[in-house]
């Protein structure tokens, strides 16, 4: 299962995909679903009813066991804003929120009595990673800005039917939404080998400015080993017949992995009539003269 740790402090001029501190598993960015050549990040200008889309659909043919989108947000909003919510039908809502009055970003889980609210110093920009499962039907997530629900991200069902990750007012259809973000960079990450995304699966590491996305057990792990081996084929001695009352024994050479040459002669133990097979070709020995053996290739 993937564990991703990324540094969350960025300046707007140097923003890039956050460098990962550690990555466990293979939560690689799948550029096949990253729109155009944009960075895998998005800048949102917070305002009421801000809306927009993250395209494209996860089209048919992709097997997405988890996916993620992330965005950076400036601190222009007045009042608290929810930056992200993730929830499951089984209950529990994980929220990342920003309190503009205190300049803190904090995280809490609704109803999560055993999980304390944690606050983090929020500078100018923050990187938030938002990861959903797209393979398990009871899971879903949505995003809010300015305390307005954004379009729910319904990710139930199989991933092959096309999934759209949307940011916009709750209930608005993706097709009807209009991009509100001015300059924006956005992106998408996906993996075909790991997954996560159950409710409350997002954890913050205080003090490190780090988002850790994942705490849940992956379903399986598999490792394959390639083990070379070799076997030399058996030499065979064949009695070819009774010639002039003298039994002649010739050999079929299959174990020397090359073509025969002039040195494969009487001194090397070869006999006229020996057959040599290698590389799908066949030769017959017609002379064993020392240093001048002749092997005729069969047509």
């Amino acid at each position: 299962m993937p564990t991703i740790e990324g540094i969350d402090w960025f300046t707007k001029d140097t923003f890039t995909v956050p460098p990962y501190i550690t990555v466990t598993g293979t939560p690689t960015r799948d550029t096949s679903v990253v729109h155009e050549a944009d960075l895998a990040s998005m800048k949102l200008v917070t305002a009421a009813n801000a809306q927009g889309l993250i395209y494209p659909d996860i089209s048919s043919g992709h097997t997405l066991l988890w996916n993620a989108c992330w965005y950076r947000l400036d601190s222009l909003a007045s009042g608290d804003i929810d930056l992200m919510r993730a929830e499951g039908t089984a209950g529990g809502v994980a929220v990342i929120a920003y309190a503009s009055a205190s300049g803190l970003i904090y995280h809490y889980i609704v109803g999560g009595s055993t999980f304390p609210t944690r606050a983090y110093t929020f500078a100018s920009w923050i990187w938030v990673e938002h990861i959903f499962d797209v393979t398990s039907s009871p899971l879903g997530a949505y995003t809010r800005i300015d305390d307005t629900d954004l379009t729910s991200v319904t990710l139930a069902g199989t991933p092959t039917t096309g999934r759209r990750v949307k940011l916009g007012p709750q209930g608005a259809s993706a097709a009807a939404s209009t991009s509100y973000y001015s300059t924006h960079l956005w992106g998408y990450a996906s993996s075909t080998s790991d997954w996560l995304g159950k409710a409350n699966a997002m954890v913050f590491h205080p003090g490190k400015g780090v988002v850790v996305a994942d705490t849940l057990a992956a379903t399986s792990v598999s490792q394959s080993f390639v083990n070379p081996w070799e076997l030399t084929g058996a030499s065979q001695t064949v009695v070819l017949g009774d010639l002039l009352n003298t039994q002649s024994i010739v050999r079929v050479i299959t174990t020397v992995l090359r073509s025969p040459g002039i040195s494969d002669d009487v001194t090397a133990g070869y006999t006229i009539g020996d057959m040599w097979i290698w590389g799908g070709r066949v030769w017959w020995c017609t002379s064993t003269a020392a240093g001048a053996a002749v092997w005729k290739e069969s047509a």
């Binding site: 299962m1 564990t3 466990t24 598993g25 293979t26 057990a217 992956a218 379903t219 399986s220 792990v221 598999s222 490792q223 394959s224 080993f225 390639v226 083990n227 070379p228 081996w229 070799e230 076997l231 030399t232 084929g233 058996a234 030499s235 065979q236 001695t237 299959t254 174990t255 020397v256 992995l257 090359r258």
Partner: protein, 242 residues
């Protein structure tokens, strides 16, 4: 931290004979792997360390040249400057690479054309073909038994583990040891180790593969009388819940 794929490694047993005499199997050899990428085309072989401090370790390479002859050469590492096994020359395949001492860096074995054959991690000594220099018999079938180990090199437990194989030759069956970390052996590689149920079907591990433990996997190659030559790969897969 759950088990991830890279935590699962395959190692040799302490006795991996290259002849039909001598013990086969035994306990795990934590210094030698039995996984590598065979040369895609004949080439000379190189070795290089990631550490400039590696200047004393001797690396012995053993292979088979393009005429089918077994050839070998020992060279001393020269740190981050590659060494070429030029005396051994162009080889059709590698059979074994071993070092006489641990290296400070990772040692990479590659072809001159640049194909990486294997990397020897710090603390290990090399790799080999699990079955090498084996010869089929003209007049009778011949069955070989070799033992390898799959080890959980991580810090967590793999549960519900199963092992399966992919064998393009149809010559191979395998069987798991009855317990983790066993030291069972066979008298020779031509001797049935006994107590192992060989099959081509996936087999469940006898117990969860806890951190640092390993399961022995016996590989049985069966070759009929007069069988032809092989230079190929067996793929062994372990799956489970991390």
């Amino acid at each position: 931290m759950p088990v991830v794929a890279s935590d699962l490694i395959m190692l040799a047993s302490l006795n991996m004979p290259s002849s039909d005499s001598g013990t086969s199997g035994g306990g795990i050899d934590v210094d030698q792997r039995v996984t590598f990428t065979q040369l895609p085309v004949s080439d000379t072989v190189k070795a290089v360390s990631s550490s400039a401090a590696d200047t004393t370790q001797q690396v012995t390479a053993r292979g088979r040249d393009i005429s089918g002859n077994v050839v070998t050469e020992t060279k001393t590492l020269t740190g981050t400057t590659p060494i070429t096994f030029s005396t051994m020359g162009t080889v059709d395949r590698l059979l074994k690479v071993s070092m006489n001492a641990d290296a400070a860096g990772t040692v990479t074995i590659s072809t001159t054309l640049g194909v990486t054959i294997a990397t020897i991690p710090i603390g290990e000594r090399g790799f080999m073909a699990y079955m090498r220099e084996a010869v089929a018999a003209a007049g009778s079938s011949k069955v070989f038994y070799h033992k390898v180990f799959i080890k959980n090199n991580g810090a967590s437990t793999l549960t519900g583990g199963t092992v399966s194989i992919s064998d393009p030759t149809g010559k191979i069956a395998f069987g798991l040891a009855a317990s983790l970390g066993d030291t069972g052996s066979a008298t020779t590689r031509l001797t049935d180790p006994g107590g192992i149920s060989f099959s081509t079907a996936a087999a469940a591990l006898p117990a969860s593969l806890t951190a640092g433990t390993a399961i022995g996997v016996w590989i049985r190659n069966t070759h009929p009388a007069g069988d032809s030559s092989f230079d190929t790969d067996l793929t062994i897969t372990i799956s489970g819940t991390p």
